[in-house]
Symmetry: C2
Subunit: 351 residues, 2 copies
């Protein structure tokens, strides 16, 4: 346990925590937020490469009250270049006179001060590390990022991606304490933008006003068909956004994913077409049944492909793919859905 | 570093990893998935309460090659009841002859085998723990959950919440390797359910067919107004879903959140009403402008309140609130939006 009711320990912890905050403040001024440099703590145990195992243990014993952790020490040469790492367990198990250069583990995983925090967290998670050392541009050890920092990063990044997906501007902070004004400002921009984005759907409808006026029953199926494209698109987009965020999927997978998505979307679209065909039959006869079923198939297919591709596209032009998972893909799929539906309807009904 | 290219260490790690997998398999048969019991490892260092600090260090030195971690040891009485915890650092700093009962920290944070894994991860994150001990129903120590397990839990839970929000059935597994058939099965149920859910919107439109036929210009604003309610609702729902998941917000906050949401939603609705009023003026004159502006205000308000309340409601009836953040809230807000829009329109235009 890190924190304890024991007074001395608590005092030491408080001192360390305060120092860590000061460190992070100092670093955040030097390194941009969201990088390993801004996140790292500079309290770690380092050992000179010339020491023996027993000298190293003695040195750690003296340092133990101050360093963030003595369980993992970094072995440095005179220029503070990182040579390797040695755990307290390895030092205890080693012969007392063994040189730590013989005991230490070489070829360790490290990151640069410029590495993005989500990448640091991913490395820690992937390799089950307790901490990862951070090197500056000269390869010198300047700090480390611990597993519990990675835990905070992962939760923060997920929250940010959730918010972005719902088109909420980032950094709402603690939801409980967010003020009315803050929430308004974080939400209003995209909502207004989407109003104007939805003009395309409205314009699509206006272009087919005569068809609609002649066959008013078509409007009954409008929300159902248009939303189905948006819903299927949101599913595809969410799967890809999360896959890209966790590293399960990379840019190079796009073409293979697209092929699979076509198959899945056709199967989904066909199932949903069957479901609406019967409704179309009931409300408007064979023509309407044919129109809504074929529209459903095409709308779900196109909606899914848009949803699947949008995160890759945003990623490609260096925007955050997370933005694509919610209302953005729904709005795009809506406008396309209106055109497909009334396009098919006017073709069929004008013959 | 946990894993290393060093052969002996690697062998020991492999042995420990294999043992940990066997343990987890065994435990998952005894404890339901998603609980601390199924997640815990049973490799930890324990010390009898009667030992001195130097005896404890000797004992750990002998155990060091096998135990998952020797940096944090649990002090047990004869019935394996957990009395406290002691770190290797504290043992090294203590006088060699000191009793570990004097050195150890009491009142430590622990969880039960039944505690849900997201709760375990939250405790580890909140208190910056390296590991948390797991107790059985008799208060006996049976295992521990480490920080790197918590990291996996947090990522998995976030992925699950993302997928649930997009109404994808859980456990897609690795997205890259998911088969076409699996993705179809995980996605089809909710998509078809929403088709029937959207019948309410269609029925709403059908109920106002005469009004629409007489004022076909109203259809132009349909996607724009209806989607705005869904978008605002998705924002509110996402904020609450994530707030509930991270513990920033609890059930008891609902009423206070509702009050603030009313204020935010009115401000958002008013802004968007101004935006559409001018469009309404351009396309249909003062009547249409009044209808679309007042509809927008009411739709955004109601959509936001639905979005904000739905996660709490689902949570209340023991369903996962995450389900509420995407297409579900959008579909509900859509149906309500149709009724509000055409309700206001028929009132204004029939006078």
């Amino acid at each position: 346990m890190h924190y304890s009711p024991d007074f001395v320990e608590a005092q030491a912890n408080q001192r360390r925590a305060a120092q860590a905050r000061r460190d992070q403040l100092l670093q955040s001024q030097r390194h941009p937020a969201g990088t390993a440099g801004a996140l790292m703590i500079s309290h770690y145990s380092s050992l000179d490469s010339g020491l023996s195992a027993s000298q190293a243990i003695d040195m750690l014993r003296r340092e133990a009250a101050d360093a963030e952790t003595i369980y993992q020490s970094y072995v440095l040469d005179e220029q503070r270049n990182l040579l390797g790492t040695v755990s307290l367990r390895e030092l205890i198990l080693a012969a007392p006179e063994a040189a730590i250069e013989q005991v230490m583990v070489r070829n360790i995983i490290s990151v640069s001060v410029h590495t993005l925090q989500e990448e640091v967290a991913r490395l820690i998670r992937l390799h089950d590390l307790l901490a990862v050392p951070v090197l500056d541009d000269d390869g010198c050890l300047v700090g480390l990022v611990t597993c519990d920092e990675a835990l905070d990063v992962v939760v923060e990044e997920a929250t940010e991606d959730f918010h972005k997906g719902a088109l909420i501007a980032n950094h709402v902070g603690n939801l409980r304490d967010a003020t009315l004004g803050l929430l308004y400002r974080k939400r209003v921009l995209w909502l207004v933008l989407l109003v104007f984005g939805n003009l395309f759907s409205g314009a699509g409808i206006a272009a087919f006003e005569e068809t609609i006026a002649a066959h008013i029953a078509l409007v009954f199926f409008l929300p159902l068909l248009v939303d189905s494209g948006g819903n299927a698109g949101a599913q595809s987009a969410t799967l890809m956004v999360r896959g890209l965020a966790t590293g399960e999927v990379v840019m190079a997978d796009w073409l293979r994913m697209l092929g699979r998505e076509c198959g899945v979307a056709l199967a989904l679209g066909a199932t949903m077409a069957v479901a609406v065909a019967s409704l179309g039959m009931l409300r408007g006869g064979a023509d309407i049944a044919f129109i809504v079923a074929s529209s459903m198939l095409v709308i779900v297919l196109i909606g899914s492909l848009i949803g699947m591709s949008l995160p890759f596209l945003l990623s490609r032009i260096n925007l955050d793919p997370a933005t694509a998972s919610g209302p953005l893909v729904t709005s795009v799929a809506d406008a396309v859905g209106v055109l497909i539906y009334f396009g098919i309807a006017s073709q069929v009904l004008d013959i």
